[in-house]
């Protein structure tokens, strides 16, 4: 059998084939440091990072392809919101100057999905931490950050598919998407979601092995974050203290940025704030996530 090929540049020499049976050549050791501590921004480490991310992503995504029916179930909830809650809002006609209520509501549904999707990623990580499959991957040279990003990417492919479906279904109801705006809005969502996903991974790691902390915190944090962001109803009608609290909630700014973008108002200041908040959440999430992964689980 020929030497297995490894798509990673080798720095050191392959070991001589001692102790190995004639049929089985040893795999050459990986000479390149796998962690991003190696050389940040170096093309080799970037390529390895992308490869590892794709490894993790494929692992997570293959079961979705094998059982696409499961995907339909996860798409059920946002569709219910669209059809059973959306018409209620559409009937209120209290969206002065914002055009159709759908213009206002559809970005909200997307944010709701964006909050719950990455949290599910944390949940699946928690299950793997409690079992042994995470440990098995941690003992490979797989890049730690790639483990986080690859998993979140999978949640986002699903989220983007759901978002596309919701947008398409909302058009007959009266939603008028501004295409470049929608694309920019989805990009912000992806950045925000990667950050949220990483934070939920940090939480999952902190919660293992019992997992109680995870369930408690996701319930206690997720719901207030959603209610305080004006996803379902405009905050404008709330008391001042509620509006003040909402102003401190990053999700509020992202929702507002999405609403502006979906209507094509690129110059709106909320777009800038939303982008900044998405980047902050992503940076904090990835930094904490990578640290948690490195410190050992």
């Amino acid at each position: 059998m020929e030497q297995p090929r490894i798509d990673r540049p080798r720095v050191d020499r392959p070991r001589p084939a001692r102790h190995q049976a004639a049929g089985a050549a040893p795999l050459p050791p990986n000479g390149v440091p796998h962690s991003p501590t190696g050389k940040k921004g170096h093309p080799v480490s970037v390529r390895l990072f992308l490869r590892d991310t794709s490894t993790v992503f494929s692992r997570e995504f293959v079961p979705v392809l094998r059982e696409p029916l499961g995907l339909l179930f996860t798409m059920g909830q946002p569709l219910l919101f669209l059809f059973l809650f959306g018409p209620l809002l559409a009937g209120t006609q209290s969206f002065e100057g914002q055009g159709s209520p759908w213009q206002w509501f559809v970005p909200g549904i997307l944010i709701m999905m964006c909050l719950s999707g990455p949290m599910m990623a944390g949940y699946s990580l928690l299950v793997e931490l409690i079992g042994g499959s995470m440990e098995r991957m941690l003992v490979t040279p797989l890049n730690r950050t790639a483990m986080l990003v690859g998993r979140t990417m999978k949640e986002f492919v699903i989220l983007l598919a759901q978002a596309a479906l919701i947008i398409v279904l909302a058009v007959p109801l009266g939603f008028r998407p501004h295409l470049p705006g929608v694309l920019t809005g989805l990009a912000i969502l992806v950045v925000f979601g990667i950050g949220l996903g990483s934070l939920s991974f940090v939480l999952a790691i902190a919660s293992s092995p019992s997992g109680n902390l995870f369930y408690g915190v996701t319930q206690l944090v997720l719901f207030p974050l959603m209610l305080l962001s004006g996803v379902l109803l405009p905050m404008d009608f709330g008391p001042a203290w509620l509006q003040a609290a909402a102003a401190l909630n990053p999700v509020t700014h992202i929702v507002e940025a999405e609403r502006a973008l979906f209507s094509g108002r690129f110059a709106d200041l909320s777009v800038l704030y939303g982008m900044l908040w998405a980047c902050v959440v992503a940076a904090v999430g990835l930094a904490m996530g990578t640290r948690a992964m490195r410190r050992g689980i």
Partner: protein
């Protein structure tokens, strides 16, 4: 393959600290099969997790497969295989998919990863289960899958944490068959933990006993038993006064130890029962003691542990069970 010096690990538990490992020194040469034996909570798994770079040591150094676990964990990871205590395969994934993923984690290209997955499936008799999910496998099959995952990159050094725990005797035997074949065919260095005494005794050529985070004995099972425990000789006589006299005679035998009398039964330990028993029986005869029955028994590793710690490994297993989680 493994050189560790002064390895320690301290865990914070609530407000206190637990020293799970307190100064581990060990050297394992290429091709050895080492069994790490000790009660639950002795520090076996913690040691293993440090040697496999999963857990940074609190202090001390370790070189594994030529790489430092602290300064080059990625280098260690690329060269070793590790089969943990729990099931390695994810519940939502098919057996073969997980094997391919694992190969990709080690940097193999897609086509090569698939080929390698098929090889280990064949190696561990898992071919028929390739498209199943782990939840549908039996305990023994799942354990074989765990080992297959650990072997996907053909490591020269494989760590196994309790590879046969929780399996029925037949599956245990089957797992051992695979482990031993691995060693015979590929010369893989094997480092495993177990709390099955019989396993360590019969399978490993070197037994390292750990207790309270320290190595307390290290050698072949035979050496340990010969040096630390010795054979057991049990003699019964016809009445209690004779038993007392038999015990006196026993105490005079060179190398005898731990002489006890219990009603008409006398027990003692000697380095070589085969040599000592005839001599003892002759001496008893000369002293006029009539022997009813005489037996000898080879010591077990439990006797070794008992001699070293004053506790039986089986008992301390129970009392220690919940003391330190996963340590």
């Amino acid at each position: 393959m493994i050189h560790a010096r002064g390895l320690t690990r301290r865990f914070k538990v609530g407000r206190g600290v637990v020293d799970a490992v307190r100064g581990l020194d060990i050297d394992v040469e290429r091709g050895q099969l080492v069994a790490f034996l000790g009660p639950n909570g002795a520090g076996k798994s913690t040691s293993l997790r440090m040697l496999t770079s999963l857990l940074p040591p609190t202090s001390g150094t370790a070189t594994v497969a030529g790489r430092d676990v602290v300064s080059d964990p990625a280098g260690v990871r690329a060269r070793i295989g590790y089969v943990g205590q729990k099931n390695s395969a994810g519940e939502n994934f098919r057996v073969r998919d997980e094997l391919v993923t694992q190969a990709r984690c080690y940097g193999l290209r897609r086509a090569e990863a698939r080929r390698r997955a098929d090889e280990v499936l064949a190696l561990l008799d898992l071919e028929a289960l390739a498209t199943r999910k782990p939840g549908t496998l039996s305990g023994g099959q799942r354990r074989r899958l765990d080992i297959a995952l650990g072997l996907i990159h053909r490591p020269g050094l494989l760590f196994l944490d309790e590879p046969s725990t929780g399996l029925d005797p037949q599956s245990r035997a089957n797992i051992w068959e695979h482990i031993l074949r691995l060693r015979a065919e590929h010369g893989t260095t094997l480092f495993l933990t177990t709390h099955y005494l019989e396993e360590a005794d019969t399978m490993a050529e070197r037994v390292v006993i750990i207790d309270h985070g320290r190595i307390i004995a290290d050698g072949t099972a035979e050496q340990l038993k010969g040096e630390l425990a010795g054979d057991r000789v049990t003699v019964t006589v016809h009445d209690e006064p004779e038993a007392a006299r038999a015990a006196e005679v026993a105490a005079r035998i060179a190398g005898s130890d731990a002489v006890t009398v219990e009603r008409r039964t006398v027990r003692l330990r000697v380095p070589h029962a085969g040599r000592t028993l005839p001599e003892y029986l002759r001496s008893l005869d000369a002293s006029g003691v009539k022997v009813a029955t005489a037996e000898t028994a080879r010591p077990t590793l439990d006797d070794v542990f008992l001699a070293l710690t004053g506790r039986s490994l089986r008992e301390s297993d129970e009392s220690h069970g919940t003391a330190t989680h996963g340590a």
